[in-house]
């Protein structure tokens, strides 16, 4: 491992610098913005025949963040980088991964293709919304799991009588995986109904599984407006759970999410820094932030040395036994 470059756009330079610190590498920030809002990239280091890692979650400001990523890839390509690796800890538009209605785009596929056309040689994501998205492009796409980061933090809580819960039926596989990795007593599933025409609102309806007197851990890939997760938490509490915690990879905390956290009976939300978390999220008494910087640093080291990512890094919560 000698000569590779790390760079980042404006969406989560804090994470990029944390990775740089672990790997003892400078992290360049080549993005500037013109007065009319157009982005400009200039990479000052020599990239010829070097691997270039671009660390850029595509949120918040997904459209600008995507453009920054594409332009950095283009600049790296024109600078003769030998391999360009787009590290996208949070992949914006990943929820628009299929035609859930007629005459809509498959936006996630489009964004992935744009990254490929711009010249990326590899994509690395953390907990992508649906793993089928890896098939949107022809280049290698490695998806690693924040369970590597979240599990040690959860284990510190030494939770007895643990039940792992999914806030919706789509997350059952993840919850089952976490239950196995945490040797939990059981799992619970909250069913919710989502009205496509209202887009973001969802409400919990009912659940299967016994949570009475249990310490419950809800798992989900993201917390957006918090509606799904927090209504599930309250529902579980109302069924007599002793405590309810949530482990979430991507903390968007959009809109009034923090207010909802305040009002909710949820005891703690453990979240990673795949995307830049606002100061008020980090400082909120109910949140605990764990960094994916060690995970991503290790992934970079594995890519550089040609070792298997899945062997060492993937504690795949979706693998059921």
């Amino acid at each position: 491992m000698n000569d590779f470059l790390l760079m980042t756009g404006k969406s989560n330079s804090k994470l990029a610098h944390a990775i740089g610190k672990i790997l003892k590498k400078e992290v360049s920030e080549p993005i500037s913005v013109f007065s009319d809002g157009e982005i400009r990239v200039r990479i000052e280091s020599n990239m010829r025949r070097r691997h270039v890692y671009i660390i850029q979650p595509t949120a918040p400001r997904p459209n600008d963040a995507i453009m920054e990523l594409l332009l950095m890839i283009d600049a790296a390509k024109r600078g003769s980088a030998s391999e360009i690796i787009a590290i996208i800890p949070y992949f914006g538009y990943s929820r628009q991964d299929r035609k859930e209605m007629s005459r809509v785009p498959i936006s996630a596929s489009l964004v992935a293709s744009m990254i490929e056309y711009a010249g990326a040689n590899r994509i690395l994501t953390v907990d992508i919304h649906s793993e089928q998205e890896e098939g949107f492009v022809k280049i290698p796409w490695d998806n690693i799991y924040a369970s590597y980061t979240l599990l040690p933090e959860i284990k510190k809580r030494k939770l007895a009588n643990l039940v792992v819960a999914s806030p919706d039926k789509g997350g059952v596989v993840r919850a089952t995986g976490y239950a196995r990795l945490l040797a939990a007593e059981g799992i619970a599933i909250v069913y919710k109904e989502r009205d496509l025409n209202i887009n973001d609102t969802s409400k919990a309806l009912s659940m299967v599984g016994d949570v009475e007197g249990k310490n419950v851990l809800l798992t989900d890939d993201m917390l957006s407006t918090g509606g799904t997760l927090l209504s599930a938490a309250d529902f579980i509490k109302s069924r007599g759970a002793k405590s309810v915690r949530a482990a979430v990879t991507h903390g968007l905390f959009s809109d009034e999410a923090l207010d909802k956290v305040d009002k909710s009976t949820v005891d703690e939300i453990i979240v990673t820094d795949t995307m830049m978390l606002r100061e008020e999220v980090v400082k909120h008494p109910k949140t605990t932030v764990v960094s994916v910087a060690p995970l991503l640093s290790s992934a970079i080291e594995h890519i550089e040395s040609g070792e298997s990512l899945s062997h060492d890094l993937i504690l795949k919560p979706s693998e059921t036994q």
């Binding site: 594409l70 283009d74 600078g79 914006g92 809509v104 785009p105 936006s107 407006t225 959009s254």
Partner: protein, 322 residues
């Protein structure tokens, strides 16, 4: 044919549709709380020739992404062809590497437009015609200059403004006392074309066009500061500055200063694209200018309108080319 309007310039799409005696087809653009957009085409487009109107002015990235999503939705829904009317093409000025280590941002845009399945692009007054070379798909490059010639021909009847330093009389301006001015070397091609279009009599002997001059300026790449080093060509009492776009307005203000310093009494400004970043409207309103003419390639929000501004519409030109 069906016309769709992105959110960047709905009035222009409406005006184009009106010229074609059709109405704009419904499109739903939902913005999620995290700023992701979801586009949905609300009527069948199977085997239809579709037109999407979306200038990619500020917010440029959001406007481009929205355009890409609309085109993707149309193509996946069976549209026969998609013509993207992008009257103002964002990122067009980043069409080559100025300094080592830069991206060619415009080529990323062009590649994406082609990849999502745009069949044809219609645009106006590119900053440099070199931008056209990047496309593999067909591009119809239109110009607002024909709108400008009509206005310029009638400028003679424009009464002089009440600037104290020019005496404030309202006599008509003599045609021979006018000169077209390009505010920089990059605009020479444009100014020459306009000069010829304004030739008094194309059939007779008066084949020489309207006189023109060019401002030679220096831009400090580090500070962005612009200074005028000289003006090539003879000036006249009335100067008509013509440019492709007005962004921050500093180019125009610098040109106005240089022209007035050299005795020009009356200045009109014509530009196709009203980018109007920063406080351009204030700068232009306060500059010693009679009037500023722009087009509606970019929608100008109410807050950026000013008294001296007149907006000409390119809707007719676009409709003729669809």
């Amino acid at each position: 044919m069906k016309i769709f309007a992105g959110s960047a310039n709905k009035p222009l799409a409406e005006n184009i549709a009106k010229k074609l005696n059709i109405s704009v087809s419904p499109l739903e653009i939902h913005i999620f709380p995290d700023d992701e957009k979801r586009v949905r085409v609300l009527e069948s487009v199977l085997d239809e020739d579709c037109v999407v109107v979306q200038p990619t002015s500020s917010p440029v990235d959001a406007n481009y992404m929205e355009l890409f999503f609309i085109v993707d939705a149309l193509k996946r829904s069976g549209a026969r062809s998609v013509t993207a009317v992008i009257p103002y093409l964002g990122y067009q000025r980043q069409d080559h590497i100025f300094r080592e280590g830069e991206a060619v941002s415009f080529s990323v845009i062009v590649k994406t437009l082609e990849a999502v399945g745009v069949d044809k692009v219609i645009t106006f007054d590119l900053h440099t015609i070199r931008a056209l070379e990047m496309f593999k798909i067909s591009v119809v490059h239109l110009s607002a200059l024909s709108l400008f010639t009509e206005k310029i021909k009638h400028l003679g009847r424009w009464p002089r403004h009440n600037f104290e330093d020019v005496g404030g009389d309202s006599s008509e301006v003599n045609v021979k006392e006018r000169v077209l001015v390009s505010p920089d070397m990059g605009g020479i091609r444009r100014i020459k074309i306009l000069s010829e279009m304004l030739a008094p009599n194309r059939n007779g002997e008066g084949l020489t066009g309207m006189p023109y001059a060019t401002i030679v300026k220096n831009r400090n790449l580090a500070t962005g500061e612009i200074t005028v080093s000289e003006i090539q060509g003879e000036l006249a009492k009335t100067a008509i500055i013509v440019d492709d776009m007005i962004a921050g307005g500093n180019t125009v203000v610098t040109a106005v200063g240089a022209l007035r310093q050299r005795g020009v009494e009356q200045i009109f400004v014509f530009a196709t694209h009203a980018v109007f970043s920063q406080n351009a409207p204030v700068l232009l309103q306060e500059a010693l200018i009679e009037k500023v003419y722009v087009t509606d390639t970019i929608e100008i929000p109410e807050g950026k309108m000013f008294e001296k501004l007149e907006v000409l519409s390119v809707a007719g030109i676009i409709a003729e080319n669809l």
